[in-house]
């Protein structure tokens, strides 16, 4: 492999992996607090459509990103209300959120254009590349790592920050304890419900941000089914990463990298069918999951929050 090919694959990997990482880290936080939200795909969709619509009408990318964050958080709050306050089934509630979000985004996409027309095919303001002086001139990796859009740079900051917050701060400890053992957390005086609401909303906001990256930077516009299953991949990546923000990078790089390699291979006209290559990340996720689980039974538990997916009600003992 020559070096310019490597650079270009690395560059596409980062661009394709950005939205995945935002959504994955969001879902890691949600699940760490003990809430399983399978609505990531729906929240990303709504994030994408709202970001693009706002950017198109106001020309403000900052406002677009803010609206996407809020839209994701708002949808996640519906899931939070149902699963925390009303103790509804989290799997069904999350799936409903995905269906609802996908439908709502598609509906809005056909209504939010100028004068109630479609958004599909419109060109709006987008996040351009923003080369960082000096660093982007580094050989080989420079133009891949430091000639990206601003939201991709955001990932460089959010990954270590998310890791630090989760493992090294008191609120991070509270988050983990609420997900591991809500009874004990409650006895320690942590407000279990409030913590779970907070991180479910944070997870939704990050999923919305991931969606915003898709419509503002990756595809630069709104198309039906813009996420193409990335929300589901994010859910799988959480397990792949064993609920650790740093390991999420490896997973996102794998998924993004396969996208990138395939991109190049199609250009080069290879004979390996794209579909088979596309299957690799999904097969890899199953294999990783099997290995983790097998390892987990050997070493007891290593990652999954103990009370993941279980509603918590103080007055009852299970």
């Amino acid at each position: 492999m020559n070096l310019s090919l490597f650079t270009s694959i690395l560059s596409i990997t980062i661009r394709a992996g950005t939205s995945l990482l935002y959504a994955t880290i969001g879902e890691i936080y949600t699940e760490r607090a003990g809430i399983l939200n399978l609505g990531v795909e729906g929240m990303m969709m709504v994030g994408a459509v709202s970001a693009f619509a706002v950017a198109y009408h106001t020309d403000s990318l900052v406002l677009a990103v803010i609206v996407a964050l809020l839209a994701g958080a708002l949808l996640a709050s519906v899931h939070a209300f149902l699963s925390i306050s009303l103790r509804a089934n989290q799997v069904v509630s999350g799936l409903t959120l995905t269906l609802f979000g996908t439908g709502l985004a598609s509906f809005l996409g056909q209504r939010l254009g100028p004068g109630g027309t479609r958004l599909v095919g419109l060109v709006g303001p987008s996040l351009g590349r923003f080369p960082i002086p000096l660093l982007s001139d580094l050989p080989i990796v420079g133009s891949a790592l430091f000639n990206q859009d601003l939201l991709s740079y955001g990932v460089y900051a959010i990954v270590p920050l998310a890791w630090w917050y989760l493992y090294k701060t008191r609120p991070g400890l509270y988050m983990r304890s609420v997900g591991e053992n809500p009874q004990t957390a409650d006895a320690m005086g942590i407000r279990v419900g409030a913590v779970r609401y907070l991180y479910t909303a944070v997870g939704g906001a990050l999923a919305g941000l991931g969606g915003a990256h898709l419509s503002l930077a990756y595809t630069k516009g709104w198309t039906e089914n813009i996420t193409g299953g990335r929300g589901w991949i994010a859910v799988a990546l959480v397990i792949f990463a064993m609920w650790d923000p740093l390991r999420a990078v490896i997973g996102a790089a794998l998924f993004g990298g396969i996208n990138a390699v395939q991109f190049r291979m199609q250009a080069a006209g290879t004979t390996i069918p794209a579909a088979l290559l596309n299957m690799l990340p999904y097969i890899a996720t199953i294999v990783v999951l099997v290995v983790i689980t097998w390892w987990e039974t050997l070493r007891k538990r290593i990652g999954a929050p103990g009370a993941l997916g279980l509603p918590y009600a103080r007055e009852e003992k299970g």
Binding site: A88, F100, R111, Q183
Partner: protein, 370 residues
């Protein structure tokens, strides 16, 4: 002052009935707001949806076309949910059923006597769905691998495989480059009842009847129910849970596979884009709303199919997004999900008791892990 839930002594029947009704009202009001915002009279739009879905025999037959796969996958998913196995893989199992049925229809018609092609397609398609479901089932039963993710990943693999086959090796050479297989020979067509509504409806009704009997009247159905309600008790009374998981998923996958068989042999009569349009995901909602009751599945599937067809209808007639059907489904299920709590609990407002100084600390109950 605090609001708490208090467990009811008896499950309230009135609430059970009221929840779906109020949920429907909520969904319709929510949809009406969306419609008003896009400058459409909601009454006109809803009337058009009703008319498009249930207005005449032709509309009903089109609703039935969408209801049949929802019924079969809904029944399949409901079996798995009975024992709290989260089979989110109905979509992939449906795809594999359709794929294998296509293979049989296209390539076995020269090898088999013509009367046996359709039965072979049905049986092998069901086997394919069952095999696809067996992989996550075996992983869960013997290695405790989380089935939510594996069934989901299997969906993507199946969908990519199906798309690969009709874009590549099985593409119709006489199709002018259009992605899709050649039309099946007539011996592989599933008979139609009216319009495009096909004999899959009978399969769904028969499956529901068998399932109802099996769940209510057999030891296997009893074991399934106990395992879902209380896995610990199930283990104590000697139920072989791994074997139960595998058998339940084989049946679940076979029904989802059958849905795929019916789609290719009854509706499209070839394999092309449009086999995997999300029936497998809507099936989860169907199973949930029907409270895992087989007859309920048939009814709910028909009603939700009506929403989908109605959505298509207002798109064609009024230029409104077809996604309206999906939005209404979501808006219908959210309050239903939340409302189910009120059948077992009631809300009570509690005023804080005056804190007594020096009250003993609460003992921390250590939960034993299962």
């Amino acid at each position: 002052m605090r609001i708490v839930f208090e467990k009811r002594k008896h499950v309230s029947r009135a609430v059970r009935v009221m929840v779906p009704v109020l949920s429907l009202v909520f969904a319709l009001v929510f949809g009406a707001v969306l419609l008003l915002m896009s400058g459409v009279d909601p009454f006109v739009a809803y009337a058009a949806m009703m008319d498009g879905a249930f207005g005449d025999i032709h509309s009903v037959s089109e609703t039935m076309v969408k209801a049949i796969p929802l019924m079969l996958t809904g029944l399949g998913v409901a079996i798995a949910f009975r024992m709290v196995f989260w089979n989110i893989g109905a979509e992939g199992q449906l795809a594999m059923g359709g794929l294998v049925a296509t293979g049989v229809s296209l390539y076995a018609s020269d090898l088999l006597p013509s009367w046996s092609v359709l039965p072979a397609a049905i049986v092998l398609g069901m086997v394919a769905g069952a095999v696809w479901a067996a992989i996550p089932a075996l992983l869960r039963a013997y290695l405790q691998v989380n089935e939510t993710i594996t069934t989901l990943m299997m969906n993507y693999i199946a969908i990519l495989l199906v798309s690969h086959m009709y874009h590549g090796p099985w593409r119709d050479p006489g199709g002018y480059g259009f992605p899709g297989t050649a039309k099946f020979p007539e011996m592989a067509w599933l008979p139609r009842i009216y319009g495009r509504a096909h004999a899959g409806l009978f399969f769904a009704v028969i499956a529901a009847a068998i399932l109802w009997f099996v769940l209510q009247r057999t030891k296997w159905g009893f074991e399934l129910r106990i395992t879902g309600q209380n896995p610990k008790a199930a283990r104590y009374i000697g139920i072989n849970i791994p074997r139960l998981i595998v058998t339940a998923m084989l049946l679940s996958g076979a029904l989802c596979g059958l849905a795929g068989v019916c789609e290719v042999t009854g509706v499209m009569r070839r394999l092309q884009q449009g086999l995997t349009v999300g029936y497998g995901y809507t099936a989860i909602i169907v199973a949930w709303m029907s409270q895992l009751n087989p007859w309920g599945v048939l009814l709910v599937a028909f009603l939700l199919a009506g929403l989908l067809v109605g959505g298509d209808q207002i798109q064609m007639a009024m230029g409104l997004p077809a996604a309206m059907g999906l939005v209404l489904q979501g808006a219908l299920l959210f309050p239903m999900l939340g409302g189910s709590l009120f059948a077992e609990y009631r809300l009570r407002i509690v005023r804080p008791e005056p804190q007594t100084a020096g009250s003993p600390p609460q003992p921390i109950a250590k939960e034993s892990e299962s």
